[in-house]
Structures are given as C-alpha cells and as structure tokens.
Subunit: 323 residues, 2 copies
Amino acid sequence: MTMTEDFTPLDMNDVDTIACVGIGTIGGGWAAYFLARGYRVKAWDPSPDAEPKLRRLIDAAWPALTKLGLAPNASKDNITVHTDLAEAVDGVGFVQESAPEVLELKQNLLAQIDAVTAPDVVIASSTSGYGMTEMATEAANPSRLVVGHPFNPPYLIPLVEVVGGEQTSAAAVKWASAWYELIGKSVITMDREVPGFIANRLQEALWREALHMVDNGEATVEQIDLAITDGPGLRWPIQGPMLTFHLAGGEGGMAHMLDHFGPSLLSPWTRLDAPELTPELRNAVIAGCDEEAAGRSVVELVAERDEAIIAIRNAIAKVKGGA
Amino acid sequence: MTMTEDFTPLDMNDVDTIACVGIGTIGGGWAAYFLARGYRVKAWDPSPDAEPKLRRLIDAAWPALTKLGLAPNASKDNITVHTDLAEAVDGVGFVQESAPEVLELKQNLLAQIDAVTAPDVVIASSTSGYGMTEMATEAANPSRLVVGHPFNPPYLIPLVEVVGGEQTSAAAVKWASAWYELIGKSVITMDREVPGFIANRLQEALWREALHMVDNGEATVEQIDLAITDGPGLRWPIQGPMLTFHLAGGEGGMAHMLDHFGPSLLSPWTRLDAPELTPELRNAVIAGCDEEAAGRSVVELVAERDEAIIAIRNAIAKVKGGA
C-alpha cells in the first residue's frame, strides 16, 4: 500500500466534540460511547425519525455505560442532531461515519464530509466490508480517510479495526489508532486491506460453516448456538483461538499441539480447507503464542482461563437468573 | 443410521461409581468433574506417571469446582487408580473412555472395556474426531457404545456432544444424553455422525481461516486472538452465532438480516464458500432463531446481551486485575 504523507492531524488532546454521520444501530452506538467518554457529539442523519431512535438507543445504553464507568463530565444530553452536514461537522475534532453499507452512498458521503470538514480532522468509516481504497474515490482529500470498524454494540465491545486505503496517509492511520486507544478501545491496526478485516473473516468462516450445517440438516439453529455458548464460546472472551490451542497442547503448548494434531488439519472437520502446515507457518504460530503468553507458563494460563470461565459462568447465571 | 434395540441400560439413579479409562488432560478433567458431582471414580491408565499427574490435575481443578458448587457428598479422595482394566470397571454404572486419538487404539480399548464391563452399562468415548461406527468395529456389544464428546476443561465447560454409531442402540444414546444432563452438562444429541461433530466443526472453520491469515501475513497470532477476545468473543458466551446475527438485524431480526445482508455471503470475507441462501435455508434459520428467542423480542435480547457483556467484562477485568 502506498501511503501519502500530506496530512497533518490536530492534537487529539484538543478534541472535545465528535461528529457521528449516520446514527442507526452502529452510529447511534458510537454516539452513546463518545458521550459516555465525556465528549460532545454532533449527529447527522437524513432519516426523519433518526433523532427519536437515537435518543431511545442512548437511553437504553446509558445504564450499561454507567455500570462500566462514565467519564467525570459525561452526559447523555451533550448531543445535538443536525439536518445540515456542514453544520454537523463544524468545530468537531473527529468524524465517525456509519452510513448504510452501500458503496456508492459511502463514496459520495465521504466526499461530502471531506469537503466540509476542517482539514486537520481524521474521518473514519465504520464500514464492515469495504476497503478505504474503493470508498475514497470521490474524496478530494483521501489522505485523512480511514476505516475504523467497530463491533456491535460499539458502546460495549472494545474492538476497533483500523486500516487505511492506498491514498490514506500513515499519519491518519497512526492518529486514528492512537485516538481510539485514548478513548478506551482495543485497537487492531492492519497494514493492508483484507476483505472482512480480521474479526469478521473469522466470524464469517464460523457462520458459513453453521449455515452449511443447517442447510444439510446436520445441526439445528439451536444446537449451533448451544455448541458455542456452552462450549468454546466460554473460553473466547479470555483466550482467543490461538491461545486456546496453545493450552490444548498441554505443557508442551502450541508446538506440541501442532506437531501431534497437525494431521487433523487434513480431516474433513469443516468445509474450509486448511493451509499446508509448513515449518514457517508452524514456527510463526508457535512464536506468536509465546509472545502472547509473555512468560506465563501453560499451567499459569490454565489457571487464568479457569478463573475467568468460572467468573463468566457465574456472571451469566446471575444475569439469566435475574431476567 | 440403523439403530438396534438390543440394549437395556441400568437405572441411572443407581449409578454411584464411574470408570474413567484414560486419565490425561481430558480423562482427568472428567474424573475431577465426576468427583465434584459426588460420584466415586475408578481410574485406569497404562502410563506409570498417570496417577500423580491425575492427583495434580484434580488438586488444581478443585478450587474452581468448589466455586461452582460441589455436591454435598463430593470429595476429591473418592478415587482409586487401577492397573487392571477389569478391576477398574467392576461395579461401575458408567464408563468414560478418554484414550489418545488413535483409531486402532480406541477400537481395541473399547472392545476390551466392553468385554469386562457389566452388560447394562453405557460406555462413552471422549473422542473429538472419530465416529462410533468406525471405533466400535472390534467390540462384541457395540449397541451400548456412544460418543460423549466434552470440551476442555471438561470440569468447567458444560457442553457434551452425544452421538451413536450405526450399531449403537437408540436406548444407549437416550440414556447417555439423559445421564449427562442429570449430572449438570449441556447436551447436544446428534441424530447422525458428522466429522468433527458440531462445535469442533465451527471452531475448526475459524481456526483454519486464522491459520490462512497468519500464513499470508494478513494478521499476526496476537491480532487474531485480540480480534476474538475483545470482539465477537465477548458475545458468544451469551448468544451464539445465530442469535448474534438475529440481533444484528435490528428490530426485524434474522429475517431482515438475511434479506439485506444475504448478498454479503458472496463476498470474499473468508476462504470458505457460503451455501446458496435458498428460501428453505432462509426460513429454517429464521424459524430456528424465533424458537430460540422463545418470545423474547430483539429489544429484550439486546438488553440481556448487554447486561451479560458488562458482567463478563467486569468479571474478566477482576480476574486480570487480581492476576
């Protein structure tokens, strides 16, 4: 990816107001999150019922945000809804675009936002599918346009995937990643555009396998959900798929796992073919797990996982018992 | 699958002792769980260091099991380790086999267990990969042999997948499912043998996509794990992949989701091709979600999800803070 360097962003500590362009489920969720972090929000949406829907969404999210901890100056009233785009972005230090997933619409809207937003402001798109290279084609200043892909609901799920397009400046990507981290997000900065980014690719592979199973009568919808919620899903909030298998290898960790269970990659356990387990891939996965483990032995990781699973199970039991 | 009816199981309320054949990570985890549920356990393993390893595993698991709640008469001392297989299964009401995943070994061991176990006892295999049809070939009484596939660690993850082979009696499958439920497990009873069962197929699709991404330099091991732990992984202990997308459809639920985002199934968001979204598949998925929702609106499910995510995040923060 060629990154231009023709963009100098403002100081993120000076940001006090954020524009949310598009305020459906995702944009409204972002608005709720920004408010909870103590920012003022200016929202724009062409839909006539957008404002009442937004207020309901923020009202519904606020108790959750309060439980997670509000910034000292947070107020759900620090928001204004505008019908004029230029007015909505006037004076803001950051723009989060969350319009519907229609490429032409995104292309035109990002060009319009770019045209009326101060030149030192980063503009991020919540797109879950498009790359910025294809979305930025109509914009005069593509160097400050980045993808900032959240997960639903953006006010509770920490993950944001940040990636630029071919014309995005490295400075804008760097600024966006640091900015999301500043406001409490977990950021993955990707160095290239990959369709579906990372989390959606993983989630989509699982989802497609599930659809195939329903399609073939191999499992019902309920069985698939139970298989995840009462199975591997209980481990994934604490240890991802890689670290999970690091532990499955026993005290030998991922190296043992790959060397002994590697052949099962050839089994027809999913419709997705596995890559060849070359020495390079094997070593990359083992090294990555070692890095993540950061000195913790498998025994220590098991203890941490177990404590988390108990806490998660007890927390869920409490929520379900109270419902 | 042809199921024979030549097996009459004992009354599961009469079970007070269980045999664990093979006591590595999985078999030892089962032993810890059975002890915590108040049963006596008789263990067998050919490895000379199996017993000390087992004691360490049970000692390590016991605090977790105590936090989840022990049966009134539970004791981690209610276990004996045997070198003679016939002695280990003598007087037991259920056998859980958890030997290494080597087909010939499983075939011979299941035949040996079958030969020395009382005829009204169900024998379950923890296999994560083989079908009972191929494992039961050497056994004299295949009608009482079933797969009872747990997840690691079996003493904390509730899921057990139950499925018979071609020669397994329906009575044995039914008994095993009811038995695992009686002792507090979440049971999925499959009506046919599918390689990888359900949860492993889903998990394996995600894992293979992850390996492809590492192989192609699209993501690091750490990014993949963060993408799950801080992203969709936070939703999966409370709502599986199906119900997750039911909520992603907004108030229109899964029907809206499939009708509007169905085309994205054709996007190259994973290396796994999607099935064709026929009207039949569409309707089956929607009907399954409706059944799971059991009258709860999307708004109610969102509230339940949000409360659970907060509880999960707070629980994990506490565990990590205390570590």
